[in-house]
């Protein structure tokens, strides 16, 4: 018995040592290797599955349809992070070693926590960290964070845009209105507060902040409080189970759902369907539209799943908000690759540094999106060293009980108000880490 035990143990450690050593040499050199530290289990596994499903499906789509970018096919590998920071780091370190050239090309972790944990490492490894709609928002300042890109829009800009939307609804003024900000008590939920406070000053509405402790599966008290406050609107920064719970709890205390407007992490099918009827009328922000009406989405279903290379066993998730978001993220990544190749030489894989330049000089126009069959899927993006965000636009969508209906055009947040906040916070960061801000040329 003892001998068995010891031998089991020995074998275990031996195999690990073996695999961990030989393993990093498996990826082929001529591909454009993309590291995908994804998560499909744990509290937020649902969201991860939809997002990364879309992301990967689009990469296969590009590979199948036009054989990659200028003949350079994409290859990728996933690593389960479980939305856990330490595991995220391990995954990043493991995946980046897979390709000497690209170091992983562009890292999407879809987790604010993980993006914080690997920020310095991506910087050191010279590989761009793409945080589309999450992560370190003051990375908008490219002179301090050359390798970090909070693309499309940040929490603060989003909050500002939501405020703008509400004031439009109210004939251009929120003066004297009461707005409650109900948020997940974490980095994610706390980022927008500065923006909202600034907005409340200039728009003269009364702002009440109510945090919800993780995981947020019990919000009775908060909603009683809200009903007591009886605000005109609730701006809602939920994530995972907190979203359904909030909608249910709102119904419980009889607070009208069409007065609640969520962030884009609180605006996917996964968030509303479990809440059933309680979700009807609930609004949320989004930076990509849902549905298969967008040509490219339909085409992916046809081409990729036609070829049996789809990432999902059932196609139900195709066209959901998060799936389309994954596709959007992939589109931006692919276009950046294309841009980099145009500058540094077509037909060969690009390095992290070259990708960085591409992401800093993105200019994705509607025309370009049209040519990709992605018209209106996501807003135009034009980045620069001063502006790693590149858009700051969102749409507002509303849940009609069966699907999300877009009820606004692209709304841009108050850049003049918000971006200085980023600059300031970036400067503090630079001071703390004694970095001298400077834009990288190429």
């Amino acid at each position: 018995m003892k001998r068995i035990k010891t031998s089991i143990l020995g074998a275990f450690f031996a195999v690990i040592a073996l695999l961990c050593n030989t393993y990093p040499l498996l990826a082929q050199a001529e591909d454009q290797f993309i590291a995908i530290p994804s998560f499909r289990v744990g509290p937020y596994g649902q969201n991860g599955q939809a997002f990364y499903g879309g992301f990967i499906d689009y990469l296969s789509y590009v590979n199948i349809k036009d054989g990659g970018v200028n003949g350079v096919k994409f290859s990728w590998e996933e690593c389960e992070t479980e939305y856990n920071n330490a595991k995220g780091v391990e995954c990043y370190e493991r995946l980046k070693g897979k390709s000497g050239i690209s170091k992983g090309t562009a890292i999407h972790v879809m987790s604010t926590g993980i993006s914080y944990s690997i920020l310095d490492k991506t910087q050191a490894d010279k590989v761009p960290l793409i945080m589309m709609g999450y992560g370190r928002t003051d990375a908008v300042d490219g002179s301090v964070f050359p390798y970090a890109f909070p693309l499309v829009t940040t929490y603060q800009m989003q909050a500002s845009a939501i405020v703008k939307f509400l004031s439009q609804k109210n004939g251009g003024s929120l003066a004297g209105k009461k707005i409650v900000y109900l948020y997940h008590d974490s980095a994610y939920g706390k980022e927008p507060i500065v923006a909202l406070e600034a907005e409340s000053k200039i728009n003269h509405f009364k702002l009440t902040e109510i945090p919800v402790a993780h995981p947020g599966n019990e919000q009775g008290a908060q909603w009683l409080k809200i009903r007591e406050e009886n605000p005109d609107y609730v701006i809602f920064w939920g994530w995972g189970v907190m979203n359904q719970t909030a909608l249910k709890a709102a119904q419980k205390v009889g607070f009208p759902r069409d007065k609640i407007i969520g962030s884009w992490w609180a605006g996917s099918e996964e968030d509303v369907i479990p809440a059933g009827d309680a979700a009807k009328g609930y609004m949320s922000a989004t930076w990509n539209v849902s549905g298969k009406s967008v040509p490219v989405i339909a085409d992916i279903e046809k081409v990729v799943y036609g070829a049996g290379k789809g990432n999902f066993s059932d196609k139900a998730k195709i066209g959901t908000v998060l799936y389309n978001r994954g596709v959007s993220a992939a589109i931006v990544t692919v276009e950046a690759t294309r841009l980099a190749q145009n500058k540094y030489g077509k037909g060969k894989p690009v390095t992290g540094e070259q990708m960085r330049w591409a992401f800093e000089n993105l200019n994705i126009t509607d025309a370009q999106l049209k040519s990709l069959g992605a018209t209106g899927l996501l807003p135009e993006i034009k980045t620069s060293c001063e502006n790693h965000e590149g858009s700051g636009k969102i749409k507002i969508q509303q849940w009609d009980g069966t699907k999300w209906v877009v009820i606004s055009d692209w709304i841009e947040g108050n850049k003049a108000l918000i971006h200085p906040l980023f600059k300031a916070s970036a400067r503090d960061y630079a001071k703390e880490k004694n970095i001298t801000p400077a834009c990288l040329k190429n």
């Binding site: 744990g42 596994g45 919800v212 009683l224 409080k225 359904q244 419980k252 009889g254 809440a275």
Partner: protein, 304 residues
């Protein structure tokens, strides 16, 4: 005042929801001295099983029965292959084993029943009772009221089971003294299997109620964290303790969430909401310092 009453009521109602989860812990701890950390995972598994079987095309009632059978099997297998193999190990080892079990279940049940976040519809629209609203202005959620009813029913059921059935008597005997029970020829393994089955049933009820509340998803396994303070307050071995403890925790937690943060805000500035994560624990802890034997436990003397 009316607001206060409202808070207290909602506190009681959600407190009972905690009691329900705590109940599962108590049953198993009473019978086998194991703090079953997997109880939360069992709640998740049970709820998933229900929605899963519905997806396989079963009607609600059948799905519930099927889920129950599934839970019973899980319970028996746990007894056979986990705890049965760990008899006479220190409690902490068993505790660790149950944590391992919770990982196992969190992995297994989504594979069997899909990991989509799905609703459970018990056919009750979760709105405040209108008449009550108009009359007193106090909103009481229908679903919560219904749930509380179910929970009380369940407790009565268990009480009857323990009092008047052969199994129940055996259970109590085991709970009192393993050795004695053994010497009386009560087969511990079977008893424990039964206990796990019952705990599975409790988990199923919890899964249904919590699931209809927040939707069926991984976070259901985190309900365990809501139950633990209830346990230290009410005692690991006392069913009434679990109920009363749950209510106390529920109410105190709600009141704290409403009334403490403003006070702290005045003291330190900044926003101090979202204390529900820790408050129940600190509360239970302080209570324990005053009364180490818990709500219903009796003082014991160290014999030497």
């Amino acid at each position: 005042m009316q607001f206060f009453i409202e808070i207290v009521i909602s506190g009681i109602l959600s407190g009972l929801m905690y009691s329900l989860v705590a109940l599962g812990f108590v049953l198993i701890f009473k019978a086998s001295g194991v703090l079953n950390f997997a109880q939360g995972a069992m709640v998740y598994a049970a709820a998933l099983a229900v929605v899963g079987f519905i997806d396989y095309g079963m009607p609600m009632w059948l799905a519930i029965i099927a889920a129950f059978i599934f839970m019973v099997i899980v319970g028996i297998l746990t007894e056979k292959f986990v705890l049965g193999k760990l008899v006479n190990q220190p409690p902490i080892t068993l505790f660790m084993a149950t944590i391992g079990l919770s990982f196992f279940l969190d992995g297994l049940s989504p594979i069997l029943f899909g990991s989509e976040v799905r609703p459970i519809n018990l056919g009750i629209v979760d709105e405040p009772i209108q008449a009550m609203m108009d009359l007193t202005g106090i909103g009481i959620s229908k679903l919560d009221l219904f749930s509380s009813g179910i929970i009380i029913l369940l407790v009565i059921l268990l009480a009857l089971l323990f009092q008047f059935t052969k199994v129940g008597r055996a259970l109590r005997a085991v709970a009192d003294d393993h050795q004695a029970a053994l010497s009386l020829g009560i087969p511990l393994e079977n008893i424990w299997a039964i206990v796990w089955a019952i705990a599975g049933f409790v988990a199923l009820v919890a899964g249904l109620l919590w699931g209809s509340r927040n939707g069926v998803q991984y976070a259901l396994s985190l309900t365990a964290l809501k139950a633990l303070p209830v346990l230290i307050l009410g005692g690991f071995t006392s069913v009434p303790g679990a109920i009363v403890g749950g209510i106390i925790i529920g109410v105190s937690e709600k009141l704290a969430e409403i009334y403490i943060p403003p006070v702290m805000q005045d003291a330190f500035g900044g926003n101090f909401g979202g204390i529900e994560g820790w408050f129940p624990y600190i509360f239970a802890l302080l209570f324990l310092l005053v009364r180490p034997e818990g709500l219903f436990g009796e003082k014991h003397i160290d014999r030497v």
